[in-house]
């Protein structure tokens, strides 16, 4: 267990299964990331992902997994993002690894990242329509229609 992090952007701290989750104000996520990297030694960004809580509102949870090798501790940051025109600031300025992780989230969920250097699809074809990991996206996609029962 490491010291609790204090920062005005943190709305709530949760503990479960030995993992720490910080619920963060999405408007100040980059401030907090910079603070965690520079002062709290969370040098590694393990990954960014999202969860679609459709039809709840705010619809999306954007999840950041941080890791400090020195402290041997992991942190999870969680931002709630609205389903209407979802957008959040990009963390590419803090960790360069955020570049591809955010592109993947954009590709799969359609969440925009402000100030991202190259926000284009990464896994799906560039002209693909829709965002596959959204809950309202059918498993077979929109391209093929199957006769209904």
């Amino acid at each position: 267990m490491s010291q609790p992090v204090n920062h005005p952007a943190i709305l709530e701290t949760k503990e479960a299964f030995g993992e720490t989750t910080l619920v963060v104000d999405p408007a100040r996520i980059v401030d907090l990331c910079r603070h965690l990297k520079d002062s709290e030694k969370y040098v590694r960004l393990s990954g960014i992902t999202a969860v679609d809580m459709h039809p709840a509102e705010p619809r999306f949870e954007v999840i950041y997994h941080l890791h400090s090798i020195e402290k041997n501790h992991r942190l999870r940051l969680k931002c709630l993002v609205s389903g209407v025109n979802p957008e959040i600031d990009s963390a590419t300025g803090v960790w360069r690894s955020a570049n591809w992780y955010e592109r993947e989230v954009f590709d799969m969920f359609g969440i925009g990242f402000r100030n991202h250097p190259n926000l284009v699809r990464i896994l799906m074809p560039i002209d693909w329509e829709g965002h596959p990991l959204r809950k309202d996206y059918p498993v077979h996609g929109y391209k093929y229609s199957y006769p209904s029962e």
């Binding site: 960004l45 990954g47 992902t49 997994h65 591809w100 990464i122 896994l123």
Partner: protein
């Protein structure tokens, strides 16, 4: 026929000869080279757009996604136990590592205890999958650089490992052997002899590889000082695994955050400092020796007892009990028809896979299907370091450099 020929010549003659524009120091001539998607040395379907200045790479832009199969979406359609079969297909060289990390993540949510025998068997099997992966890496990487024999030597041993997988799970590659709540099957009778025979002979096989490569001038020239990328860049870009240990960072999740009783095993974390293709080769060779040590310890100290957790709501009952006891029949029916439910919550579990950190982020909404499974795969993170690594290197070195990253494209694209 002659008409066609005539018209072809007419047509070609109208195209003016390509004019060489003299290069000026201010604007050197650049060329864009498309490597892949079907390039033999990219080990999968990867396209890299290289911008060249002469033979020097100015910039490299990897283009991925050719093997995207929507596994994360498919997770949401299967029940928890069925989804184990999807984890095999993520990284087809380290399928048991993926089985293990998924099982551990779900068991974290279920809060069930796994018996020691199952844990030790899991460790043994994941170490075999590390050997398998490193052997394929060494064989194909050496093949890329021109050492043909290594490929045959490595695949000879890999074949033995695949036979062991088949003996345990019935499958050579898509094993699905590590299940939520324990193992898929009880370890087969006589496995000790087969594993014992293999592991006794294995160190001498590693000696053979080293004999072929360690003092080989071609191998040394093509690997030493090639593929440098600074440790800071790697940490910033999300690179993990043997790449970091080849740059002098002593970080291995098996030691720092032990899982599945790794803390009971005695092994070293090999670290090299030269931070090039050579050091990554050295790290992986030594890791193979350490894995062999772990397997030997597992073989000698394998605990007795159950191979599945005592959790009737998760683990299928024995066939005999199912036929004779009402309660077991009910559990069997429930698990088979709708699958077990996992309490609502979220968990992140990471392990040290052959390529680096695999992390599964699992979200449950309390039903019998995963709500969301995110895979943080090491190949995806590692590949992001490629442009930095290839900048200002020679194009001939790019094959050795990208081979040393040891990525699997199925793992990258999921």
């Amino acid at each position: 026929m002659s008409n066609i020929k005539q018209s072809f010549e007419d047509h070609t003659s109208t195209i003016p000869a390509v004019q060489e524009i003299p290069a000026t120091p201010a604007a050197p001539r650049r060329m864009t080279l498309n490597m892949g998607p079907q390039h033999p040395s990219t080990h999968g379907v990867l396209r890299i757009v290289l911008e060249l200045e002469g033979e020097t790479i100015v910039s490299a832009a990897p283009d991925i996604g050719f093997l995207h199969t929507g596994i994360e979406k498919e997770f949401e359609q299967k029940n928890w136990q069925q989804a184990v079969t999807l984890t095999d297909r993520v990284d087809y060289l380290a399928n048991l590592s993926n089985n293990l990390v998924y099982a551990l993540a779900v068991e974290k949510l279920l809060q069930i205890e796994i018996p020691a025998r199952a844990q030790w068997t899991r460790v043994m099997m994941t170490e075999f999958s590390r050997l398998n992966s490193h052997l394929v890496w060494l064989g194909t990487h050496a093949l890329d650089i021109g050492a043909m024999t290594m490929f045959f030597y490595c695949f000879r041993e890999r074949e033995d490992i695949l036979r062991i997988f088949e003996m345990f799970s019935g499958q050579r590659m898509m094993t699905s052997y590590i299940r939520i709540g324990g193992l898929a099957l009880e370890p087969p009778r006589g496995w000790q002899q087969v594993v014992g025979k293999f592991i006794k002979a294995f160190p001498s096989k590693v000696d053979e590889y080293e004999e072929l490569l360690n003092a080989n001038p071609i191998w040394m020239q093509r690997t030493q000082g090639v593929g440098y990328i600074s440790l800071e860049d790697m940490l910033d870009l999300g690179v993990t695994g043997p790449m970091l240990r080849g740059a002098g960072l002593n970080w291995d999740i098996r030691k720092s955050e032990p899982y599945s009783s790794y803390e009971k095993f005695d092994f070293k974390v090999p670290v090299e400092t030269s931070n090039d293709v050579w050091s990554r080769y050295r790290v992986r060779i030594q890791e193979m020796r350490e894995s062999a040590k772990i397997i030997t310890q597992a073989l000698e100290g394998m605990p007795e007892g159950a191979w599945q957790a005592d959790a009737p709501h998760v683990v299928l009952p024995e066939r005999e009990k199912m036929k004779t006891q009402m309660e077991s029949l009910i559990y069997h029916f429930k698990i088979v028809t709708e699958g077990f439910r996992v309490p609502a919550g979220e968990a992140y579990q990471c392990i040290e896979a052959p390529r680096g950190e695999i992390g599964y982020y699992v979200v449950s909404d309390g039903t019998s299907k995963p709500y969301r499974v995110h895979m943080r795969t090491p190949s995806f993170g590692n590949l992001q370091g490629l442009p930095t690594m290839l900048e200002n290197t020679m194009i001939a070195d790019s094959i050795a450099a990208l081979g040393s990253m040891d990525f699997v494209l199925g793992d990258t694209d999921r």
